[in-house]
């Protein structure tokens, strides 16, 4: 009962925040609505006893990804008026697309309902026993059954890093950079020249 109330509360805020992302006039507000949406979906996951996923969502998306997002959005100084131009004109099309998406979502639910028992052996997950940590369960799965795709996911991240660095890092001339290893490796001979000066002779 209490859980149901909580579910509807979080779900309502989630939907409201999602709408806010789209309609907010200021991109910074949009980004913040997105943070709120993430937070509420994390809360929904908590209600499903998926605490690891919930906290990971907050940690990764709210704590890191959205911070960088905000960083960029704030730096960009987007021209809001220009961005909003034609919003009303395209709104009907957008609504049609949104409507289609909603229908599709329902299709998925409906598809699941259609599934015959033979095909849906997993339909009802068993209730989680107390004392079973789903962090541990996830870890066990990831490192045994799904070790292969898990490693592949790591490769995807590696590719992303390599590609991002290859595409963005450039050595511009005239860039003032401090090279610590060079500074440390400096020897006396590089910087200091000892000149023998003839001693002044007393007349």
């Amino acid at each position: 009962m209490f859980t149901t109330v909580l579910f509807y509360l979080f779900a309502a805020v989630l939907v409201g925040a999602a709408v806010g992302v789209v309609v907010a006039r200021n991109p910074v507000h949009s980004a913040l609505f997105l943070v709120l949406a993430f937070f509420n979906s994390a809360a929904l996951w908590l209600l499903l006893q998926a605490e690891f996923l919930a906290i990971a969502l907050v940690l990764v998306y709210v704590g890191a990804v959205m911070v960088l997002f905000l960083f960029v959005v704030m730096m960009l100084d987007v021209n809001v008026a220009a961005l909003r131009e034609g919003f009303a004109r395209h709104a009907p099309l957008g609504l049609v697309v949104a409507g289609l998406m909603v229908v599709e979502m329902f299709q998925v639910l409906w598809v699941r309902r259609l599934g015959e028992p033979a095909l849906l052996a997993h339909a009802q997950p068993a209730a989680v026993e107390a004392g079973v940590s789903n962090t541990k369960a996830l870890g066990t799965l990831l490192y045994t059954q799904y070790a292969y795709p898990f490693q592949l996911a790591a490769v995807v991240l590696l590719i992303a890093i390599v590609a991002a660095i290859a595409l963005t890092m450039r050595k511009r001339p005239g860039l003032k950079l401090q090279d610590v290893s060079k500074q440390v490796a400096v020897t006396k001979a590089d910087r200091l020249r000892i000149i023998k000066v003839e001693a002044e002779k007393r007349p």
Binding site: W110, E116, L120, T144, P149
Partner: protein
Amino acid sequence: MIPTSLADFAIAAPEVTLLGVACVVLLLDLFIGESRRGWTFLATLLGLALTAFVTLYCAPADRTVALGGLYVADAVATVIKFAAIATMAVVLLYSRDYLSARGLLQGEYLVLALFVLLGVMVMASASSLLSMYMGIEIMALSAYGLVAFDRENPIAAESAMKYFVLGAIASGTLLYGISILYGVTGSFDLNAVQAGLEREVFFGGRHIGLLFGLAFIIVGVAFKFGAVPFHMWVPDVYHGAPTSVTLMLGSVPKLASFALAWRVLAEGLGPLSHEWHDMLVVLSVLSMVIGNIVAISQTNLKRMLAYSTISHVGFILLGILTANAEGYTAALYYTLTYVIMAAASFGMILLLSRQGFEADRIEDFKGLAQRSPWFAWMMLMVMMSTAGVPPFVGFFAKLYVIQAVLNAGMVWLALVAVLASVVGAYYYLRIVKVMFFDAPAERAPALGGSPAFRMVLSANSLAVLGLGVVNGPLIALCQQVIPH
């Protein structure tokens, strides 16, 4: 649950080796100076040779499913992997001069190329939708990076953006389909999916949810293949990317697309073949017709070859849609031979290009016969083969596919295919005409290319003739690996 231990990864030795090679190249490049990039290049080629060796050496005699049911090692996988490794090696050999002339020969380029190959290999060995998707992403992500690699070129950046956005949509569509399929069958495992579907079909079920998921998966596959009407990215990306990248995208990923279609449609969703048959017919006919007709009006050789690719994809799909062993064999044969031809034709563009000049317009080939008779004849053979003229290998590829379609009783499809290839012959022959009967442009310099490049390209072109004249072994290999 099947526990996985470190030793289980031995079955994935080719992928593990390649990943190791990529990491070694990445690190090696850090310590090798700008002036000695050649060593990185050499290391890459050696790594490819090592991977090829491991692929052949570690290939199990029988079909083996391992790593928690996510990895399958069988003959088809071995053939596709070996072909992909060989193609990638050839592609890199062709690209070297082009890249170093433009300052693009960097360690990251080679590493990303190796990762493209890794993606292809993962896809070839995927026995689960999960590992298949990971393979697709590995390949696509590296490909986006490669297309944008020439940062100074705004056209490349634009085409990379298009590729990225459309590729992301394709991935999304595929994932959506996969999620529905998962919802209905309760498994990512292609074998389990197949078993579930067989039961379903056996009991006469015509599951609307399955069709729904299937449609999305087909759209995703068509996007990756570049089949009409999901082809819009192909010409732009082929045109905008550096030619060396176009060469790579035009050849290696086609093997991956075949692997994707084979694993997901033929193996996993095989019991639904009566459903996806019709969808593929539409894709295939549209690809053959539109690809060939639009190609006629192109003046840019890269764009023309892009549309030609689309039409060839139509033929590959034609083989797959028969949903029998003969058709699959023909499709595999077509894919393998197409990759050889594509490598040769883009290789020619690379050969003619030089610093600050892209030989990617058809008129750049004017009078090639006078400038370099040898390579003009080579190009002639490649173009004839791509058009499907006997006795070149392209003819036999088309022949087998059409035969398979006829044997499956679809006469009108075979007719469309024949007509489409007749239309297609026009623009291939136009290149031949330009090379042999037009006067060369003024101040056209001599052909570049290192001896190794020239030799491999010649060998590649001669292979088009050789495999055509002696076409038995390759088709026999394809027949052997596709289970009946």
